[in-house]
Symmetry: C2
Subunit: 352 residues, 2 copies
């Protein structure tokens, strides 16, 4: 820290992203990316003509991307706001609605705590139940903004619409943010509810089901007043947040949604197969509704499993926090990837 | 504004970006982009293979880009920090060092005032002289962070190294940010001074001289302690700030710097020609050290010139603020673009 740094940020502990390995050949199952490439139209839009146009600024209002997203979800264009990744959307939502503090689960996406620290927010952590489930009643009448990852990470558990609606009804004077980063892996989105609940803000990303983690695209859906709040903040920080190439790619990705839907089905099938195989090897964890599983072993520690996989060229995500240190979060890849994982797990379980 | 919005942001007036016109065929001289496409290596890196890799996150540390930037400027890799556009770098610099307030010119890049508002900073505006010049003495011993655009915008005037050094020496306990967005158009960069002045932070962008406005790349150069401060903040907000494709493009652009240097020379030549032609038509303005000129006319108002150009298919930037409302900021394009501009100006001056 330099002697010039504002003391306001002295205690800040930055987010620690999943490792980006330097070794090639490593099977990367640590950051929940899609194992499938972007759709054909997206691939085609990366070309010399588009490259040449990079000399010009993109549209700071992201109009075309907002238009196709609105069309896809049956919204009007002023009910959606694309941004440079869902982390940016989340931070804007933290900034905009946290004047009475924020509440989120004690085990959830790690960036929530970082945003709360960054903006010096009063945080109420709501403990997950012993089985990692979320009890909706714990979120009633909290008198503050609520951030819910649904499905949750790293647990993979999903809260049904009825439960979310109860939380919305019990917090009418505060915004409830539903972070749906993993919703496309077999779950119902809350986006259609934005017309019913003026306090609902749904956030999604193109980094998981849409195979565009590298392109940095996220978006928020909410009633037009909420979106106007967020646009005002976005335009006061970084109006040119999405690169011109990523704007193009994002539009194509929405237009080719059926391609991504099929990929999600393949990922779900690979997940179900992997869970069955790992159960037989003594691994267990909460029911995954996402493109990752969160598993611990009857006899091996989380660290042992992590290192055993790493030694076999497979990278997964391990967290040091006491409550979850016996678990590993494993992204679901292709069936071939998962066969390689299961074979490695068999060796680890057999050889210790 | 929704009833949920944090009152802290109630008064916020967002930045107003230059217009992105919908009409095609319009000559766009309003946002200071380069008229030349990116270099050959950059054009080539937009391809299907790169597109396919967009499914993966890029390196959140931007290591490769920092490495080539450091090499280009003779720094070590921990003295440079790439970000998703220089606006992001600027905001981080506002956040990190503004605990005693900030000072900047009354006419300068419009985003400085927006960042100051967003973070509720105490602002000291330093008036430009009548001829728009900056008097270095006005910046001595201000007891706060200083933000200097050098060359300044929209005036185009440049402060020499000796003047900047005096400002640095007279503010040893506060960071002086030198925003060099336009430095490559014939001026000396202050980057080599970072080893001499621990309070110097230089910020540059790839949006102007490097033909990559659409890619969203900026960077800061400073001693390793300042860079560590800024990285801590960056990683607490948006570690994946540069898209994977833009990381690739940025690296190539630095490697092919000679291509961009030649373009800058062409732009300077076109600028000098344009200034001579416009002088003969009764237009005058401060000496430009940038890729734009800032001119007013003896008899016509700024608004009349703006509208006359717009009617002839040429878009320039006009600001409503009292002090500069008789001026227009005109980006320098190719010689062909400038010939079209001068021809239009001849008509406007002749026909009123």
């Amino acid at each position: 820290m330099s002697r010039f740094l504002n003391g306001y940020y002295e205690q800040l502990k930055p987010y620690v992203p999943g490792e980006i390995p330097k070794e090639s050949g490593l099977l990367k199952l640590n950051t929940n990316e899609s194992p499938y490439p972007p759709s054909p139209g997206v691939l085609e839009c990366f070309n010399r003509d588009a490259a040449s146009l990079q000399r010009l600024y993109g549209d700071p209002a992201n109009r075309e991307l907002n238009r196709v997203l609105a069309g896809h979800y049956g919204l009007s264009a002023d009910e959606v706001m694309a941004t440079g990744g869902s982390d940016e959307t989340l931070e804007l939502a933290f900034m905009a609605y946290s004047q009475d503090g924020v509440a989120f689960a004690d085990e959830t996406y790690g960036f929530y705590g970082v945003f709360a620290d960054l903006h010096h927010l009063d945080v109420k952590l709501i403990p997950l139940a012993e089985d990692f489930s979320i009890h909706p009643e714990d979120y009633y009448d909290l008198g503050r903004e609520i951030i819910l990852a649904n499905p949750n990470a790293p647990t993979g558990l999903y809260l049904k619409r009825e439960a979310i609606e109860e939380i919305l009804r019990h917090n009418r004077d505060h915004v409830v943010v539903v972070d749906e980063a993993y919703v496309d892996f077999g779950n119902e989105s809350m986006i259609p509810l934005i017309h019913q609940y003026e306090n609902l803000l749904v956030i999604q990303t193109f980094s998981k089901s849409r195979s565009l983690a590298g392109a940095r695209i996220g978006f928020a859906a909410g009633n037009s007043e909420l979106i106007r709040d967020l646009e005002r903040l976005r335009n006061s920080r970084n109006p040119y947040d999405i690169s011109r190439q990523s704007q193009l790619a994002g539009v194509k990705a929405v237009e080719e949604s059926s391609y991504y839907r099929r990929n999600c089905e393949k990922i779900i099938a690979a997940r179900e197969w992997t869970v069955r195989e790992l159960n037989q090897l003594g691994f267990h964890g909460p029911d995954s509704h996402t493109n990752f599983i969160f598993v611990s072993h009857e006899h091996l520690t989380g660290q042992e499993v992590y290192e055993g996989l790493r030694a076999r060229g497979i990278l997964v995500r391990h967290f040091d926090r006491e409550r979850i240190k016996n678990y590993n979060r494993i992204s679901i890849g292709t069936m071939e990837d998962m066969e390689r994982l299961v074979a490695a797990m068999k060796e680890i379980v057999t050889n210790g």
